[in-house]
C-alpha cells in the first residue's frame, strides 16, 4: 500500500506486525490512554544497592526475549550499554531487543551480539553512521530495526507500544536509594532527559553509576520513587566522548552564505520579534544561523522567550547576553551547557516527552516559532531524508527532526545544494523521515524555495531581494552540477521501519543490493 507521502510500504511486516500507514502530520491527535505500570513497591528498610551488574540481572530475572533500554546522554563516551550487554551475553541469554535512544560508534560490540542472535531487535531514535547502522542496513538483525523520533519514543513507551522490561540508566551521580543527577561526577553530562519516560514506565529501573554519593543526590533529576536498583561500576563513561569540544560557527563561506540567507528569511517573514522562540542544531552551519539571528535580534532590540533543543555553549551565551529569557534543554552538548543548566534556573531541562511527544497535553515543539533543520536529501515535495545515505545505507534516525518540523511555525531546512558529488535536492528522497507538509522553507547557497502550501510566506518574501526560486529549479541546478544519479537497487527485505512521531509508518528501509 501507499501512505500519504506516496511511499510503498507493506501492510504487514514480519516481526514488526500490522503497519499503520502515515496519514498526515496532524491525523492522529485526540483522546489517548496511557498504559499502566507494573512495579514492586519498596518497604521501609529495603536495600536497593546491588554489588554487580550480574547481580542486577538476577534480580530483574533477565531472560530470552526481553527488551532492555539505554539512553544517549553520554553519547560516544557511554560505557553502560556495552557493560550491560556484555553481562547479558555471558549468560547465554538471547533474543534481546535493545531499545536505545541513541547508538554511537562506541556501541560497536552490538554488531557481534546481532550476529550471534543475542540481540535480535533494535529500536532507536538517533544513530550515528557506523558499524551498528551498517549491520542493520545489511539485514543482519533478525527483526527489522524500528527508527523513531525523540518525541515518538516517549509516545511509544507511554502508550504501551514499546514495552521496556528493564531500563538501565547511566547516572553520573546517584545515591543508594536511586536518586540521580547528571550534573555532578566525572561523567557529568547535564540533563538525563531521554531516560525519563523509561524511568516512569519500565518494569524494572536500574541506576548505573560511578559516583555514589550520600543520600540525597541533589539536585535530583530522576527520583527514587522510579528506581528499583542502584549498581556502582568503575566508570560509566569517557568524558572525552561525552562532551564535545567547543562547537563553533562555521568558517566555510558556503555555510555562511546559507546561514545569512536563512536569517534573512526569518527576518523578512516577521519572526524576529519580541518573545520569539528558536531552535537550531549544533553543527557549524546551524550555529552560523544562530549567529545571524542574534545580530538581527540585537539590531531590533528584541528578547526571545526561549531557545530549545540540544544546547551548546553558543545558546548559553545568547541566554546570558539577554537575547532569550530561557532555555529548554534536552541534551547538553558541552561543559558550558552543563554548568549553565546546573547553575541557572532560567536554563530548564525537558524530558524527551515534554520536548516532542505528540500525544501528551502539548510538547515544547508546539511552542516553537523557528526551527533550523538539516537534510541528507530533500525532494521536490519538501519531504526530508535524514535516515539513509543516497546509497541506501542507514546513517541516522530522526532525532528531533520530524518533531520540531511538525511543531514549529517556520521550519527551515538549511543545506548545501550538493554535498561533494551528491545532489541534495532530488525528485525522490531515498527514505522519508519528515513529511514535506511540515517543512516550510529550503535554503541553499544557490537559492531559496518556499513550500507552495505556505502562501503567507511566499507573499511576505516576494518583494524582498532574496533569491526565491521554485524547488524544481534547485533540483535542476543540482543535477546540472552532479549529473543524474543512477537509481540504487534494493531487495525486498525490510531492514528498518521508519516510524513517524505518532507511531505510523512513514517509510521502510530495504536492504540495498
Amino acid at each position: 500500500m501507499k501512505n500519504s507521502v506516496g511511499r510503498e510500504i507493506p501492510e504487514y511486516i514480519e516481526s514488526y506486525g500490522q503497519v499503520k500507514p502515515f496519514d498526515g502530520a496532524l491525523a492522529n491527535y485526540g483522546e489517548r490512554t496511557k498504559t499502566s505500570v507494573k512495579l514492586r513497591s519498596v518497604k521501609p528498610g529495603d536495600n536497593k544497592l546491588v554489588e554487580t551488574i550480574d547481580e542486577v540481572l538476577d534480580k530483574v530475572g533477565i531472560r530470552d526475549g526481553m527488551t532492555v533500554s539505554f539512553h544517549h546522554h553520554l553519547r560516544n563516551g557511554d560505557f553502560v550499554l556495552n557493560l550491560v550487554m556484555e553481562a547479558i551475553a555471558k549468560r547465554g541469554v538471547k533474543d534481546i531487543t535493545v531499545a536505545a535512544t541513541g547508538i554511537f560508534k562506541i556501541h560497536e560490540p552490538l554488531v557481534d551480539y546481532i550476529k550471534s542472535g543475542i540481540v535480535t531487535g533494535i529500536s532507536v531514535n538517533y544513530i550515528a553512521p557506523g558499524p551498528v547502522a551498517t549491520a542493520i542496513s545489511k539485514g543482519l538483525l533478525k527483526k527489522p530495526a524500528v527508527l523513531m523520533s525523540h518525541g515518538g519514543r516517549p509516545r511509544a513507551i507511554e502508550s504501551g507500544d514499546l514495552h521496556i522490561d528493564v531500563a538501565f540508566i547511566a547516572a553520573p551521580t546517584a545515591d543508594s536509594y536511586g536518586n540521580m543527577n547528571g550534573v555532578q561526577g566525572k561523567a557529568a553530562c547535564g540533563t538525563l532527559a531521554y531516560a525519563v519516560s523509561d524511568a516512569q514506565y519500565a518494569d524494572h529501573v536500574v541506576a548505573v553509576t560511578d559516583n555514589l554519593v550520600p543520600y540525597p543526590a541533589c539536585p535530583i533529576e530522576i527520583s527514587q520513587d522510579y528506581v528499583d536498583y542502584v549498581v556502582k561500576v568503575e566508570s560509566i563513561g569517557d568524558p572525552n566522548g561525552i562532551v564535545s569540544g567547543t562547537l563553533t560557527v562555521t568558517k566555510d563561506p558556503v555555510g555562511l552564505r546559507i546561514a545569512k540567507l536563512a536569517a534573512q528569511v526569518i527576518e523578512a517573514t516577521g519572526y524576529i520579534k519580541e518573545g520569539m522562540s528558536f531552535q537550531t542544531g549544533a553543527g557549524g552551519t546551524s550555529l552560523a544561523v544562530a549567529a545571524e539571528v542574534r545580530r538581527f535580534m540585537k539590531e531590533k532590540n528584541v528578547v526571545g522567550s526561549f531557545a530549545a533543543g540540544g544546547i551548546t555553549g553558543y545558546m548559553v551565551d545568547m541566554l546570558n547576553d539577554g537575547l532569550f529569557r530561557s532555555l529548554f534543554d534536552v541534551q547538553c552538548f558541552d561543559l558550558k551547557a552543563i554548568a549553565s543548566m546546573r547553575d541557572n534556573p532560567k536554563h530548564q531541562k525537558m524530558s524527551g516527552s515534554l520536548y516532542g511527544n505528540p500525544h501528551n497535553r502539548g510538547a515544547v515543539v508546539n511552542n516553537l516559532d523557528v526551527m533550523i533543520l538539516g537534510a541528507t536529501e530533500i525532494d521536490t515535495d519538501f519531504n526530508v531524508n535524514v535516515v539513509t545515505g543516497s546509497d541506501g545505507i542507514i546513517i541516522g534516525a530522526s532525532g528531533g527532526h520530524n518533531d520540531t518540523a511538525a511543531g514549529s511555525k517556520l521550519a527551515i531546512v538549511v543545506t548545501n545544494l550538493t554535498k561533494g558529488r551528491l545532489p541534495v535536492v532530488k525528485d525522490q528522497v531515498t527514505t522519508v523521515t519528515t513529511p514535506g507538509e511540515t517543512i516550510d522553507v529550503l535554503v541553499t547557497e544557490r537559492g531559496i524555495a518556499v513550500n507552495p502550501a505556505r502562501q503567507d510566506l511566499i507573499d511576505k518574501l516576494k518583494d524582498t531581494d532574496l533569491p526565491i526560486v521554485p524547488i524544481e529549479e534547485l533540483k535542476n541546478i543540482a543535477e546540472r552540477l552532479t549529473g543524474k544519479p543512477e537509481p540504487i537497487e534494493f531487495s525486498d527485505q525490510v531492514v528498518a521501519v521508519v516510524q513517524y512521531r505518532d507511531g505510523t509508518v512513514i517509510d521502510v528501509v530495504r536492504k540495498p543490493l
Partner: protein, 90 residues
C-alpha cells in the same frame, strides 16, 4: 600525445580528485576509479565516461589513469585529467 612518465594532478581534498597517469605497456586507455561507495553506485559510469572522453580528446592512446576521488564534479575531473596528461607528456 604520448605518455612518457608518471604524473599527477589534483589533490585528496574534499570535492577534488587526485589523478595519476602513467604509461600503459599493454596499450589502450585503462581507468581505475577509487571513490566512496555512494558515488560509485550512482555516478561511476558517468565519471569513467568523462575521464575517457577527456583522454581521447587529448589524443592519448595508451595510458593508465588512476583517479582517487573525493567527490569531484565533472569539470574538476576534466581539468585534473588534462593537467596530469600534459605533465606526463613533457
Amino acid at each position: 600525445m604520448k605518455i612518457n612518465k608518471a604524473a599527477q594532478a589534483g589533490a585528496l581534498e574534499s570535492s577534488d580528485v587526485l589523478v595519476t597517469v602513467e604509461p600503459n605497456p599493454e596499450g589502450g586507455i585503462k581507468i581505475e576509479l577509487e571513490t566512496k561507495r555512494v558515488i560509485q553506485k550512482q555516478f561511476s559510469k558517468q565519471i569513467e565516461k568523462v575521464i575517457l572522453e577527456t583522454a581521447e580528446q587529448s589524443g592519448v592512446e595508451d595510458v593508465l589513469i588512476k583517479a582517487q576521488d573525493k567527490g569531484a564534479l565533472d569539470y574538476t575531473f576534466r581539468a585534473r585529467v588534462q593537467a596530469a596528461l600534459q605533465r606526463a607528456s613533457i
